[in-house]
C-alpha cells in the first residue's frame, strides 16, 4: 500500500505492433514489484491473466446506455432520428426502431425528444474481472465478441484499476488508434516495448508521435534484440526516447510465455529490465 500523500507510479505498456512482448513485459513489471495493480486494457484479447496465475475473478458488466422508446408517448415527430448522427435511431412505423449496434450511448436522442418518450437502458458490451494473485491485484477488461467499440470497457478497467490506489501497470492494446489512447490517458509514463525489425520500428514511430502529442514521458524496451548483428537505431521521435533495456531473443522465454510462464521466472534480464523501468517511471512522472 502506498503511504498517503506520496505520488504513485502509473505505467502504460504500449507497442504499436502486436506481439512485441507488451503482455510479457507488463507481467514482469507487476511481478517485480509486489503489491501493485495490473490492468489488462487489451480488452479485445485480454491475455495478462495467463501470465499472472489466472486468479479467480469477480466480474461485473460494462454497459452502454441505449435508448428505448415509449410507444405510448412517441408522436413519431422524427426528432430523435434527425438528432442521431450514427444512424442508430430511424423513424418509421409505430415507434422509432433502435439499432443498438450503431449506438454510441451519447444520449443526444433522449435530450432532443420533445415528448420525453425516450429513456435509456444499459446494453452489456463487456465485463470487468478482478482477482488477486501473488500479491498483485489484476483488473481485466473483456469486450464481448461482436461489439465494435472497446473504449468504454478500457476506460472502466483503467478507472477501476486506479481506484485500487496502488502503483499500477496498464497493459495496453496494440495499434495507435483510439483504444490505445484510452488505455494511455491516465498513465504518468509509458514504456514502448518494441523490436528492432522494420515493422517494429515503423509502428513504434507512430506510437511515439501519439506519446509526444499527449505529452507522456516515454522510454523504450527493445525486445528480441540482436536479430541482426547490430540493432538498427530508432529514428524520429522514438529515437529521442531513452532505451531502458535490450532483451535478447530467447527460445526458452518464448516457449515459457507460450505455456503461461512469465519471463521473470526464466531469464533474470527481464526482472532487471522491469526494475529499471519502475525506477525510470518514478523519476519521469515527477
Amino acid at each position: 500500500m502506498q503511504p498517503l500523500g506520496e505520488e504513485r507510479v502509473v505505467i502504460a505498456v504500449v507497442s504499436g505492433k502486436g506481439g512485441t512482448g507488451k503482455t510479457s513485459f507488463s507481467a514482469s513489471l507487476a511481478l517485480s514489484r509486489p503489491g501493485v495493480a495490473a490492468v489488462d486494457a487489451d480488452v479485445e484479447e485480454p491475455n495478462l491473466s495467463l501470465l499472472l496465475g489466472d486468479p479467480v475473478m469477480a466480474t461485473m458488466n460494462v454497459g452502454l446506455p441505449v435508448p428505448v422508446v415509449d410507444a405510448a408517448k412517441c408522436t413519431r415527430c422524427g426528432t430523435c432520428s434527425r438528432t442521431c448522427r450514427f444512424g442508430a435511431v430511424l423513424s418509421f412505423g409505430k415507434a422509432p426502431p433502435v439499432f443498438s449496434e450503431l449506438c454510441h450511448g451519447c444520449g443526444a436522442c433522449v435530450m432532443a425528444c420533445p415528448e420525453k418518450a425516450l429513456c435509456e437502458v444499459d446494453r452489456p458490451i463487456g465485463f470487468i474481472g478482478r482477482g488477486v494473485s501473488n500479491g498483485i491485484v489484476l483488473v481485466e477488461g473483456r469486450l464481448m465478441v461482436g461489439m465494435p467499440n472497446p473504449v468504454p470497457v478500457i476506460e472502466r478497467a483503467v478507472g477501476l484499476g486506479l481506484a485500487e490506489g496502488l502503483d499500477t501497470v496498464i497493459d495496453s492494446p496494440p495499434g495507435a488508434a483510439c483504444p490505445m489512447v484510452a488505455a494511455l490517458r491516465e498513465a504518468g509514463a509509458a514504456i514502448l516495448v518494441t523490436e528492432p525489425t522494420p515493422f517494429g520500428r515503423a509502428d513504434a514511430e507512430v506510437v511515439a508521435q501519439v506519446l509526444h502529442d499527449m505529452g507522456k514521458p516515454a522510454a523504450l524496451v527493445v525486445n528480441r534484440s540482436g536479430i541482426l548483428e547490430e540493432d538498427p537505431p530508432f529514428d524520429g521521435v522514438a529515437g529521442t526516447f531513452p532505451v531502458l533495456a535490450r532483451l535478447r531473443f530467447s527460445r526458452a522465454v518464448a516457449e515459457g510465455c507460450a505455456r503461461g510462464i512469465p519471463p521473470t521466472e526464466l531469464d533474470s534480464s527481464w526482472e532487471t529490465a522491469a526494475k529499471a523501468a519502475w525506477d525510470w517511471a518514478s523519476e519521469a512522472a515527477r
Binding site: S15, G16, K17, G18, G19, T20, T23, E44, E45, N47, L50, T83, R85, F86, H104, G105, C106, G107, A108, M111, A112, L143, V145, G146, M147, P148, N149, P150, P173, P174, G175, A176, A177, C178, P179, M180, V181, P196, T197, P198, F199, A202, D203, V206, V207, Q209, V210, D213, M214, I227, L228, A254, E255, C257, A258, R259, G260
Partner: protein, 289 residues
C-alpha cells in the same frame, strides 16, 4: 466475375499476418489487388515497395468546434458530453477534440449556439502499384478514430480496382483484435485466414476470432505459425481447429531465415511457393462449400 477476397486476421498481434499476406501476394503476383486493412500501424508497404499513384485525405466522422464568441463559459455543455471531451476549469470551458465522438449533444444544450460540427480529416489514403498488383493502403492519423470506416473505404477501393482490372483475387492484411476495424475487415469477405501460434494466448485469441467470424457468417481457416515453439500448444490449436471445423491449412515452423528476411524488409523466401499454394487452394475450397 466477383473477385475472391481473402482477409488475413489473427486476434492476437504479432503472429505473422503481414508475413503471410506478403507470401500470398508473391504467389498471386499479377492476379491480385492488395489492401492493407491494418490502418493505424500499416506494415505491408514495408515488404512490397509501393509506388504511390494517387492519394487523398480520409474524412472520418464529425468533430465539434467550440466558437468563442459566442461561448460565455456557462458550462451547461460539460455534463452533457458523455465522452469527457468537455471540462471546466478556472471558469473556462475546454474542448478536447481527441475525445469528441461528434454526437452533437453539446449543440443541443448550448443556449448560445457556440458549437459547430464538421467532418474532420482523420488520415490519408494511398493507391499504389507494386510488383504483385495494385495496392490500397492508408495511414490513420496517430491516435485517430473511425478506423473501421477507413478499412471499409479501402476494401471498397480494392474491390473496384480488382473488378476494373479483372483480377480474380483481393488480398487484405487485416488488423489484430476483434473490434471495429476487425469487424470492418471481415464483414462480407470471402474467407478469413487466421494466423495463430501455439501459445495459450494464441489459442484464447483464435477462439474469440472464430466466434466473431461465425457471427458475421465468414468461413474461417487457420495457419499455425511457429508451430514448433510448443508441441503441447500446437496440439491444443489442432484440437480446437478439429472441434470448431476450421481447416488447418498449414503449419509453418520457426525459421531463422524468415526472421532474417523480415529484418531486412524482404518477403521471406523460406515460406515457399508450395506452402503458399496449399494455403490458397485450401482457402479456395472453403469458398465453394
Amino acid at each position: 466475375m466477383r473477385p475472391k477476397e481473402i482477409v488475413v486476421v489473427s486476434g492476437k498481434g504479432g503472429t505473422g499476418k503481414t508475413t503471410l499476406a506478403s507470401v500470398l501476394a508473391r504467389e498471386l503476383a499479377g492476379q491480385c489487388v492488395l489492401c492493407d486493412a491494418d490502418v493505424d500501424v500499416p506494415d505491408l508497404w514495408i515488404l512490397t515497395s509501393p509506388r504511390v499513384k494517387v492519394e487523398e485525405d480520409f474524412v472520418g466522422g464529425d468533430k465539434a468546434t467550440l466558437n468563442r464568441p459566442p461561448c460565455d463559459d456557462c458550462g451547461r455543455c460539460v455534463p452533457a458530453c458523455r465522452f469527457g471531451a468537455l471540462s471546466a476549469g478556472n471558469g473556462k470551458v475546454v474542448l478536447d477534440r481527441s475525445r469528441c465522438e461528434g454526437c452533437g449533444a453539446c449543440t443541443l444544450v448550448c443556449p448560445r449556439g457556440a458549437f459547430s460540427l464538421a467532418p474532420a480529416v482523420q488520415g490519408r489514403i494511398y493507391g499504389s502499384e507494386t510488383e504483385y498488383g495494385s495496392f490500397w493502403h492508408a495511414r490513420l492519423h496517430p491516435g485517430g478514430e473511425n478506423s473501421g470506416r477507413l478499412v471499409q473505404v479501402l476494401r471498397e477501393r480494392a474491390r473496384k480496382t480488382a473488378e476494373e482490372q479483372g483480377k480474380p483475387w483481393i488480398l487484405a492484411d487485416g488488423p489484430p483484435g476483434i473490434a471495429c476495424p476487425a469487424i470492418s475487415a471481415l464483414t462480407g469477405c470471402s474467407v478469413a485466414l487466421a494466423v495463430t501460434e501455439p501459445s495459450k494466448s494464441g489459442l484464447h485469441d483464435l477462439k474469440r476470432l472464430g466466434e466473431l467470424a461465425a457471427r458475421f457468417r465468414v468461413p474461417m481457416a487457420v495457419v499455425l505459425n511457429r508451430c514448433d515453439l510448443s508441441e503441447e500448444g500446437a496440439q491444443e490449436i489442432r484440437e480446437a481447429c478439429r472441434e470448431k471445423g476450421w481447416p488447418l491449412l498449414a503449419e509453418i515452423p520457426f525459421l531463422r531465415g524468415v526472421v532474417e528476411d523480415l529484418a531486412r524488409a524482404r518477403i521471406p523466401a523460406d515460406i515457399d511457393s508450395r506452402t503458399a499454394g496449399r494455403i490458397l487452394r485450401g482457402a479456395e475450397s472453403l469458398l465453394s462449400r
